[in-house]
Structures are given as structure tokens and as C-alpha cells.
């Protein structure tokens, strides 16, 4: 989805500038340009795919028994009688004015829908990534440091299972065991019925909203509902993050400076965490940002199993209904997230990597 320089140690554009200000301006200009181009390209591709899909959105609106006149009237009202480039120009114009149009599969304005479904996904993705990082990074580091030991073997099996297990199966089993049999967590849905609508909607993220409202009961309830799907997503991102961490670490640990540090008599902890780990933090950020971004796309299966009204389900359903306003709006939002996350990780490079300053 993104082409804006993720994974590259230092944006090439920077080097060409003259003086600190010129360099910064060119850097920002280039960034804005590449951002705009990325999003525009994304829109073009999504738009074209949407129009050549063999689904008739007009039929969805008027129903099967509509007369030819009704059908034509709806087609014209939806602007589908105009040439493709004109439809696209109108759409881009609307987007620039901040209007994403109305969804035909929910009957609501797309912006309003996204405002409702995206926080649900952010909440889940953030918690999932947090779990992935907090468990995956140490696991990867230790596996590398104790290569071939039982820790390494366990980490490998965990990652392998995480890669290869179908998520719907794990999700259903998780629900069956932790909700159905043990009763430790809440069932499908974001909240229990009792707490529904009790907390004022500020961010759309129920965990945060209940904290803002100081309602601990609602917080506990929301947490008990999110913990299972978040752990599940966390597990998948853990599998990826721990494998990547391990291979980055192995590379560093065989480097000469590590041998030097060891020869100098530094403690193993210091060597691993103080030297080797500091050096992998830069590529690791890319890995984490990418894995977070892919969770932000929404995990359709997880959302369906846990009745989680997130963006993955929203876009998939819109796609099947030929609801292009919703698909384009959602794609734009996710694209913007990818670009934004790349931007943030680019900035973090500059903090962490002296060469990029």
C-alpha cells in the first residue's frame, strides 16, 4: 500500500538539500508530495477496480423489481451515467471538500460510519500490537541470545503456530474455552448489554471513554470483551515480531563490535540490551509499524467471530454490495494511516539513528 520509503535508513531527498533549512523544507515538501501521490494513486486504483467489478450498485439501491424508469432515475441520481473520468473528478472534488458521500449499504454518510467503526479497530489493533511488542520483542531477543536452547525452540513453535493456525478456529476455540466454559472473559461484542450506552462517546474507544468518565465498571466490562480478540491479534503480531527480532539480533550478535564488547568484559546483559538491541531498534520500528498498520486494516475474520463492528467488516461488506463510496472512504483512511505510520517511523529513525540526523 505504501511506497514512501519505509525501511530505508535515511530518505534520499534529505541529502540533496542545501543548508539545514533548505534541507528541511525540501524534506517536508517531498514528504507531502509523496504522501499526496500515494493517496491519489490509491484512489485511482480503488476507483477503477470498484467500477469494473461485476456488481451493479444501482440494483442494490432500487431492488430487483424496479421498472426501467426507476432504474434509470437511480442511475442518474448516483452519477453512474457520466463517463468514468468525470465520475472520478467529481469524487475527488467531493473528497477535497471533506465529503466522502453516502454509503448505500448502511444509508449513513461514509464519514459518520468511519467515525464509528474506525475507533473500534484502533482500540483492538493498538492493544493487539502492544501485546505483540511486549511479548514478541523479549522473546525474539532471548531466542537469539540463547540460540538452539529450549527457549529458542519454544519461541519457534509459538511463532509457527501463530503463522499457520486459522484465526477463525483459534477465535472460536478461545470463545468456547474462556467465555463458554471458564467464563473468564466477555462474549462477542464490545460491551455487555448493561453497560451499552452508559459511557458518553468521546473518542469512540470504549476503554478510553470509560476511563475519561471514570466508570470502572464499564472499563472492566469493556476490557473483558476486548481481551480475547486483542490477545488473538496480539498472538499473530507476536509471531511475526518475535521472528523478525530474532533474526535481526542474530545478525548483530555475530558482528565484531559485540565480540569486542564481550572481550572487554561487559556483562552479557549489557552486551545484548545495551549494544546489540540498540542497534536493531531502528529496523524493529519498521516491523512494528507495518504490523500495526496491517492490524488497522481490520481483521475481517476476527471482527466477524467477535461481532466487533470494525473497519474490516465494514469495507468487506461494502465491497460485496458494490458500495463504492464506503470502499473508497475506508481505503483512503487506511491508506492515510499507512502513510502516517511511515512518517512517524521515519521521524523515529532520526531520533534513534545518528546517521539519519
Amino acid at each position: 500500500m505504501s511506497d514512501s520509503g519505509i525501511g530505508r535508513p535515511a530518505p534520499a531527498a534529505m541529502a540533496a538539500g542545501h543548508g539545514p533549512w533548505g534541507r528541511r523544507l525540501r524534506g517536508i515538501g517531498g514528504l507531502v508530495l509523496s504522501l499526496a501521490l500515494t493517496l491519489f494513486g490509491l484512489l485511482v486504483v480503488t476507483f477503477v477496480i470498484g467500477r469494473i467489478m461485476p456488481i451493479d450498485p444501482v440494483m442494490k439501491v432500487v431492488g430487483e423489481r424496479a421498472t426501467q424508469a426507476q432504474y434509470e432515475a437511480a442511475r442518474i441520481a448516483m452519477g453512474l451515467d457520466k463517463p468514468l473520468w468525470e465520475q472520478f473528478a467529481i469524487y475527488v472534488g467531493d473528497v477535497l471538500r471533506g465529503d466522502l458521500g453516502r454509503s448505500i449499504s448502511t444509508g449513513h454518510p461514509v464519514a459518520q460510519d468511519l467515525k464509528r467503526v474506525f475507533p473500534a479497530t484502533i482500540e483492538l489493533a493498538t492493544l493487539g500490537t502492544l501485546i505483540g511488542v511486549l511479548v514478541g520483542v523479549p522473546l525474539g531477543v532471548i531466542a537469539a541470545a540463547r540460540r538452539g536452547s529450549w527457549v529458542d525452540q519454544v519461541a519457534r513453535v509459538v511463532a509457527l503456530v501463530g503463522y499457520s493456525m486459522p484465526i477463525f478456529w483459534l477465535g472460536l476455540m478461545g470463545l468456547l474455552v474462556f467465555y463458554g466454559m471458564l467464563g473468564w472473559v466477555g462474549g462477542p461484542g464490545r460491551q455487555g448489554i448493561i453497560y451499552d450506552g452508559m459511557v458518553p462517546d468521546v473518542t469512540g474507544m470504549i476503554l478510553l471513554d470509560s476511563l475519561i468518565a471514570g466508570d470502572w465498571g464499564a472499563f472492566r466490562d469493556a476490557f473483558s470483551h476486548i481481551v480475547l480478540p486483542a490477545s488473538l491479534l496480539g498472538y499473530f503480531s507476536l509471531a511475526y515480531i518475535s521472528r523478525m527480532t530474532r533474526s535481526f539480533m542474530l545478525e548483530q550478535l555475530s558482528a565484531e563490535y559485540v565480540t569486542t564488547a564481550r572481550v572487554k568484559g561487559l556483562s552479557e546483559t549489557r552486551v545484548i540490551w545495551g549494544h546489540a538491541f540498540r542497534n536493531i531498534s531502528v529496523p524493529l520500528i519498521t516491523v512494528i509499524a507495518l504490523s500495526f498498520a496491517s492490524l488497522l486494516e481490520g481483521s475481517v475474520l476476527t471482527e466477524i467471530i467477535f461481532s466487533w463492528p470494525g473497519i474490516g467488516q465494514y469495507i468487506t461488506k461494502a465491497m460485496l454490495a458494490g458500495d463504492m463510496n464506503a470502499v473508497l472512504g475506508g481505503t483512503l483512511l487506511i491508506g492515510a494511516c499507512f502513510v502516517g505510520l511511515n512518517l512517524i517511523s521515519d521521524m523515529l529513525y532520526r531520533v534513534l539513528d545518528p546517521r539519519a540526523r
Partner: protein, 532 residues
């Protein structure tokens, strides 16, 4: 759409006056339902034409007349209108309004509101409008044809129709009466308040809309001043739960009272649980086999006749369609005026072979397509097997829903396996598609199933159908539909096989008997969208 809600049968369905007496986990005056509600695109009665949307609409709006879900055989009952009469010439229907009905806003329900609501639906001309416009109303004439006079609503029809036909249509969701003053205050341009009413309610029904979050949930609040008495359930929450197994878990844990979209496997699981029960309700959808009359082989009456005996009705409803369909070999669904339970055909390969050999047919190949839904493919494959036993080769190609429908609309499917759901609670909705074909030419591009299967309906049958639509004596009309179906069974190449049933999982404590609370009043009509 497979598990969605239907029609009048649904009424039955759920005569579901589910009134949980004492719930394990959910509060006693709250009803929590898990359902697939992602089909709702609007809650405006002039627009809503989806299963779950109609369920909700049924509880937000009253119609002039209605069915009693606990006693469908009683036919049309008073609702906002208490009396009705038809003029001598059968072209004017006059309904008298109930006294003292109020909208949820506190405004009185007047004849003017009723007339305006119907005019509004005709003028908006959205998906369900045809249910009203089939009586000759148009945007131009409807202000004269439907009018209010004191406490009377007067409908002027373009020709005589059976009173039961008109009333059955008025009882459908599109006949919901909205609060004229309130809706008009929210009108934008020429939309008659459609945008506002899509996400708000302005009715006189037992519930008001508290919230609708698309693909997530619908919340209803009891209307304490409902003219029919305050509902027992103060709050009703319908949650969108896609997965059948998730619904079952929620039900087992007592987090919901009713699960509406269970697969046969989960139905078995729920039935085995002592705290839960399964309630089976007929739905209106008919699964049928359309034999295209352009196909030289299928054109022959003997082949049509033989195929009726090549379907393993018992075997199919006992295996992969168990709990989803029951055998029903007639075009009018059980529960409707004119319905019959006569199922004359059974699986009899010998008889089929005899019929074919007598006609000199011992071999042949039919290439057809089937939509990639598991049930349809399974039905097609059992047919393939039984066809082979009589020397016929059936070649199958799977298509997606959209492709399949496109081919069907272009009359290019030799054997079409599909479902048809009634649009309103009158037999005419099905008869007028299975047994009416005004023009069998390719250019006609009609939407009737008869046209799509290139079946030129014989004149005498067409005349019977036309006569049944205008017969005012309901008993006679009932008999006319029985006759139509008897003839249909003899000659028609579009063969009805099964009728859908819905198995609802509920807490044992839920009362499903005579309605204690008003919820849920499931919808009477079926979505045309579902007819894809």
C-alpha cells in the same frame, strides 16, 4: 441473506411474543436478540424492504390493518383503522380510523396522517412502493386517489380488486403510518423526510427507535402510551452477531434471550441444552426448480413430469436441508390465504424412467449453471445423481450470485435452482410471478419467474389468476387459488420443492405463546432483494 427474516410466516414465527419471565442474566424487562442485521439500509417504512429492517419497522409503526401473529388464520385484523368497506363497484375502499390513537410524539393519529403516509410512499417510489402502486396510484394522481375525509381514509382504485388483496397489501411494512407533522418538519428538499426517517422513528407503534448503529445494533424503547397497552418489554436490543456458533455461545451463557441465525448443527446443540429451546417457524421462501422452456429437452412435458419424481424430497430435507427447509410442492407458502399442504410427488426413479421411456427419451445432456451457495450446489448434485439413473447427464457449472442472476435474467439458465420470497402477505405476490407472463418474447425483459424460464403461461390459467385478484368473497378467492395451484402442479415447468423454516433458539423461560409483550412483531413481507 440465508437466515434472514421473512414474511407473514414470520408473524407466525414469532408469534414470538417472547416474554422472558425471569432471565438468568439479562434484566427481566429487557429483551436481547442476536441476529444478522447487516441488511438494513433504512428504517423509513417507505424505503425499508429488508428482512431485519421490516422486523424493526413492524414494532415502530402501525398500519391501518394488520395480522394477529398468534392467529394468522383469522386474517386481517383492525389496527389504526377499525372498520373498512368496499363500494358496490369494488373500486373504492373506505377505512374508518381508530379513535384516540396517538403518535409517539403525542400528536393524534388522524386520517390525514394515514392518507399522507400512503401518498408519500407512492411519491417517493422506492423499493417497496410497487406494493401500493399496483393499485394504479402514481405520483401524479395519488393526491386524488388516496384522500382523507374526516375520520375516513378513502382509496380510489384503478379497477376492482379483491378487498382481501388490498388489505393484505396495506398490512405490509410500506403501509406503516407516519406522523405527518413531525416528518414534514424534517423534510429536506423533495425528500418527504426520507433522509431523517431513515435513522429516526415517527410512528404510533409499541416501540420507538432509541438507536440504530449499522452492522452493530438496533435499540428500541417501549412506547408507554401505546394505544394497545404498554409493552411488557421496556427495552429491546437486537445485536448483529454474524456467526452462528457465537450466537449459540451467547445464548448458552444467558447473555442473550433469542438467537435468530443458528445453523442446523448449532440448532441441535441448543436443543440438547435443558435451559434452552428451539422454536421452529415457517418462512415464506420457496425453493424451486426453473426448467427453461427454450431448452429442447426441458420443453417436453414428459421431461418436466419426470423431473418431479427425480427429486429426493425426503432425503434432502432429512440431510443437508434439515431444519432449513421442509417439502412444499406449491407456489403459495403455508400460512397464506389459498395455501395447501398437498404434496403429490415423491422420489420415484422407476416412475420417472417409465414416463421418459414412454416418451422415447432414454438419454440426453443438459448443461446448466448453479449459484455457489452450498444448499443449491448440494441440491444440484443430488439431481445429477438421480438424472444419471434415468440416462440423463446433468453438467454443472458454479457461478457467483451476481453472475448467476445475470444469466437468469437473460433467460440463459436451463435448470435454475433458486428461492423466491413473497413481497407482501397475499397469495398474489407469488402467483403473479410463477404463473403470469404477459409477453414471452425475449425483448420483453419481464421480471416474472415465468418469463425468465420462457414459459408461456396458458391463457386459461392466466385468466384464473386475473379473476382471483378481483374476487371479493374471501372464501371463493381461497378456492380459486386452490384451483390455480392444482392446474399449476399439472403443467408448470417451474417446480416448487421446499419452503423455508427458521429455527429460533431461545431461553426456556421465554414465553413464545400468546403475545404477552408486543415484541417482536416480525414482518409480514419479504424483501425483493432477497429474491436474488
Amino acid at each position: 441473506m440465508t437466515n434472514s427474516f421473512s414474511m407473514r410466516a414470520v408473524l407466525l414465527a414469532s408469534a414470538l411474543a417472547f416474554a422472558p419471565a425471569a432471565m438468568a442474566e439479562t434484566p427481566a424487562d429487557m429483551l436481547v436478540v442476536a441476529h444478522q442485521i447487516d441488511d438494513i439500509i433504512s428504517l423509513d417504512p417507505a424505503q425499508s424492504f429488508e428482512f431485519s429492517g421490516n422486523d424493526v419497522g413492524n414494532n415502530l409503526y402501525d398500519r391501518l390493518v394488520d395480522f394477529d401473529p398468534t392467529n394468522l388464520d383469522a386474517g386481517i385484523q383492525p389496527s389504526l383503522a377499525t372498520a373498512w368497506e368496499v363500494s358496490e363497484d369494488g373500486m373504492t375502499v373506505t377505512l374508518t380510523m381508530r379513535e384516540g390513537g396517538t403518535f409517539q410524539s403525542g400528536n393524534p393519529v388522524r386520517a390525514e396522517d394515514a392518507a399522507w403516509s400512503l401518498q408519500r410512499a407512492v411519491k417517493l417510489n422506492l423499493s417497496p412502493a410497487f406494493i401500493l402502486t399496483q393499485f394504479g396510484f402514481t405520483a401524479e394522481n395519488v393526491d386524488q386517489m388516496i384522500r382523507a375525509d374526516g375520520d375516513k381514509v378513502i382509496l380510489q382504485l384503478d379497477q376492482p380488486y379483491a378487498l382481501s388483496f388490498v388489505l393484505n397489501c396495506l398490512a405490509s411494512n410500506v403501509g406503516g403510518i407516519v406522523d405527518k407533522e413531525l416528518v414534514q418538519s424534517h423534510a429536506e428538499g423533495e425528500d418527504f423526510g426520507n433522509a431523517w426517517l431513515s435513522t429516526n422513528s415517527a410512528g404510533s407503534g409499541p416501540y420507538t427507535l432509541a438507536a440504530w448503529r449499522p452492522n452493530e445494533q438496533v435499540q428500541l424503547q417501549a412506547n408507554e402510551s401505546y394505544w394497545g397497552g404498554a409493552p411488557a418489554m421496556k427495552r429491546v436490543i437486537v445485536r448483529n452477531v454474524q456467526e452462528s456458533s457465537a450466537q449459540r455461545l451467547l445464548l448458552e451463557q444467558g447473555d442473550i434471550d433469542i438467537a435468530r441465525s443458528l445453523t442446523p448443527t448449532d440448532v441441535d446443540g441448543v436443543a440438547a441444552n435443558d435451559n434452552l429451546k428451539i422454536v421452529t417457524e415457517p418462512r415464506g421462501r420457496i425453493l424451486y426448480l426453473g426448467l427453461n422452456q427454450k431448452d429442447p429437452l426441458l420443453q417436453r412435458p414428459e421431461v418436466v413430469e419426470a423431473i418431479k419424481y427425480l427429486v429426493d424430497y425426503q432425503g434432502i430435507t432429512d440431510s443437508f436441508l434439515k431444519g432449513i427447509f421442509v417439502t412444499h410442492q406449491n407456489i403459495i407458502p403455508a400460512g397464506y390465504l389459498g395455501s395447501t399442504s398437498e404434496n403429490p410427488w415423491s422420489y420415484d426413479v422407476e416412475k420417472a424412467r417409465q414416463i421418459l421411456t414412454d416418451a422415447g427419451i432414454t438419454s440426453g445432456t443438459i448443461k446448466t449453471t448453479v449459484r455457489d451457495l452450498r444448499e443449491y450446489v448440494d441440491v444440484a448434485q443430488t439431481l445429477q445423481g438421480s438424472f444419471a439413473q434415468v440416462g440423463l447427464t446433468l453438467e454443472l457449472q458454479q457461478l457467483t450470485g451476481a453472475q448467476s442472476l445475470d444469466a437468469y435474467r437473460a433467460r440463459q439458465v436451463p435448470i435454475y435452482i433458486g428461492e423466491w420470497g413473497p413481497d407482501y402477505a397475499d397469495p398474489n405476490t407469488n402467483v403473479s410471478t410463477f404463473a403470469v407472463n404477459p409477453d414471452n418474447a425475449d425483448e420483453a425483459k419481464n421480471s416474472q419467474l415465468a418469463w425468465r424460464n420462457a414459459w408461456a403461461v396458458p391463457d386459461d390459467l392466466a385468466q384464473k389468476v386475473a379473476a382471483a385478484v378481483i374476487e371479493n368473497d374471501t372464501e371463493t378467492r381461497n378456492q380459486m387459488y386452490l384451483d390455480i395451484q392444482a392446474q399449476y402442479r399439472e403443467i408448470a415447468p417451474i417446480i416448487p420443492l421446499f419452503q423455508r423454516v427458521e429455527q429460533v433458539g431461545a431461553q426456556r423461560m421465554c414465553r413464545t405463546g400468546p403475545r404477552a409483550g408486543r415484541w417482536p412483531r416480525p414482518s409480514t413481507n419479504r424483501s425483493r432483494r432477497a429474491n436474488n
